[in-house]
Amino acid sequence: MSAFFPHVALTTDGKFLLSLASSFSLVILSGLLLHWSGLGLGRQQWVIALAGLSIGLLGIAAINQKRRGTIGAADTQRRQERYEYLGAAISLTILVLIAGGAIGYAHINAVRLGANPPPQLWILEEKHAGARTAIIGVYNTQDSPLVGRLQVSVNGNILYSSSPLQVAPQGVWRQRVDLSPDLPERSLIEATLTSLEEPKHGYRRATLWVQ
């Protein structure tokens, strides 16, 4: 703000307000320029653009202040405001710390009380250089091992039934199944996962039509 208004004695909160609001707008305009210039919005581009903007404006402010000098009344006001801020700063700091504590408390408890997503079973077809493959996956989203039985059938005929399958907490289990070229048209591959501990709750079923 000093760059724009070296001759005006803005109050501290007025300066802060205008600086913050103008900064937002300048960042938005910078982003638009970065996009239109073809440079794109990346980390380096932002650092260069924002640093250049800041240094440029600081330079203009310094030149303006040097040219025009500082207004005496503003100094008095600034000292008075500094005094007013001191008492407030202490109580507001305490409040900010407690507010941070409240957010932390809420976050920790939200994590503690939040449920993990349920375990996932999926089956996908992958065509790779003429070969066809089905990929079956199990993602154990829980914090305890998933112990289950996976059964794969093709057109109702059981092809594969795993011995008890164990997936570590937060672990992913995958299996590739190569599909024979002489598989009949419109075949249905079905994968079912049954939890040995909780057969009903752990049940998952995924299917894949191979056409």
Partner: protein, 716 residues
Amino acid sequence: MVAVPAEALAPPPAWADAERWLIVCSLAAAVGLMLLAYTYTAARAGLVSDSNLFWASMLLLFVPAAWGLARDEAPRMFRLQLLLIVSMCLYVAKIVHSPQGFTFHDELLHVRTLNDILASGRLFQENPVLPVSPLFPGLEVVTAAIVQTTGLSVYVAGVLVIGMARIIAVLALFQLFRLVTSLDKFAGLATLYVICNQHFLFFDAMFSYQSLALPQGIVLIYFLCRQIIENDLRPPALLVIFILLSGVTLTHHLTSYLLAAFILFWALYPQLYQLINMTLDWYAGQLSGRQIAIAIRNKSLFSSSLGRFSHVDHRLYIFAFVSLLLPTFWLVLIAEKTVGYLSPIFAGALSDLAALLAGDAPVRQLFQDHSGEKIVLWEQLATLISVLITLALLVAGATITWQRQRVQPLVFVLVTISLAYPVLLGLRMTPLGADISGRSNSFLAIAIAVSFTTGALATQAWLRARTPYFVGQALLVAILTLIFVGGIVAGAGPRWVRFPGPYLVAAEARSIEAAGIASAVWTRAELGSQQRIAADRINRLLLAAYGGQHPVTSVNEGVDISPLFVETQFTEEVRRIIVDSHIDFLLVDLRLSEDLPRVGIYFEEGEQGGRPYTEPIPRTALVKYDSVQGVSRVFDSGVIVIYDLRGLRDAIHPLPGIHNCERLYSPDSCGRLPAVRATSPATNLRPAARMLSSRTFIGVSFLSARGPYNRRKVSP
């Protein structure tokens, strides 16, 4: 100058205890925040059955600050600090509601735009769930700058941006009201009234473009007014105004249009006022038509001394012109989709209102959600009383202001706009009108604040002449508290909106949970992004924000996908929608069959021909694809199922229709036993997959931009 008896506002000696009161307010607010954090935690655990603790914490945040602001002798900085305490503590209340990540509907719409910018480094990428969002990327650009330069997560950066916008809003409102009234007490109370508005707690605190544009707009009005009063419109000031105006234009469509309309109204107000007065005089026979014509021809309407108005500045026309030109330029060249986005909303609201006035439309049920849950009686009464008090004080304040002699035109403009409040109350009786009325409340509250505070201070002054000092102050605080409570009830609605807790069907933030997020993340990891996918209202958001998918929507493509879910059988209509709309995948949330939607709809506005649901969608309707030949059930998490529909579109032969699962499994229908070879099982444990857990969904951008699941295909 606003009309309040001078003796009521004469500057008294400085309040010696101001600093002590500030400490009291800070401590009360701190206790309130901790209490609120505890209440929300208890609500998550299902241990809270009423809102008593919530209200206790809200009152601790609000009442001490309101008491301090109602004092005559409080210094300016003290008032500002109190306002900042209230506004920022209410913002923290919103963060404590969703401490892990963005959970509100509108927030996730913008997260998609932000993720696209972070991933591509380009603006204006398509956003299928909110097509206009990328065309007004101000909020996302600022947040992206913070994310990319600091490495903070999207959530933390977004919270910081909106937090700073809140500080701007409060400071700018205080400065604006102080500028036009020259009274600190008036400015403090008027700003507090804006804080009491129904959307301040949640809606205005969301990671949404309006939350940033509105504060910038207020700063612009403040700065423009300040420079006009100081008669300083030199190039540096003009440059600042242009920068601020550009910021608003690039951030939110409606705010920029309303800002332009506001400045135009402000510029023309003195002339309009004179013209209306002349017309009234002509009607009363005190002025002839010839005299009016002469007045217009002589340009006396444009005199810089228009009687009762102070600081009439014709340069405002230039600003009005520029403020119209910039959004129009942006609309025509970049954001032409905005017309198609906004016009149905306004047209629908007007037709709803017309139908309501004609008695053809059902009246919207107040204080009740679509599943039938009602707000408790005392909260209903508090809301109604707060509306009545607002209306009474608004009328009183407007009347008093109208009787003044030398007034800032801006004050008159605000008072005139505030008279739209009763009209918007009427709009609340219709479904679409309620949406518009609610959203406009944040804007209108600024105008109402002037009339309201004038009326409130006049009432206090009247009481002070007849009762002890503290009675008037206590009444003022009681009124503001009532309006604060009424605002929260009207804005937040039923209890389930205010509290976090277990999953509810189609209930905005309460429907955003681990299973939905994990499914969306899975789609990105295993299917790749930008898949055309149909889903319900909530999962669609998650697919867009976390999955980077392209949900097929009515707002973007005009496709009503609800028959895909609600039809009990796989009909020709369902097949036609899938094929015509090129839908590749269908995400079905089986929990939709467990309850009615809390917000009235499962998918889109107007589904089911606008008829309300009387019972949940049958589960058989949701899983009907299990028995359709060619439709693969590729994903199953127990509550969410994803179907691959590409087999339907790719099928050469006509579809056989509904099949029986058992029949498909029989050897006769399946032909000979296939030869399939299974590879050796390879357990592929990935520690990074822990990121999928919703427990850590704070880092949306990390998952979407750099996460372990950022691969288009599974590795061989």
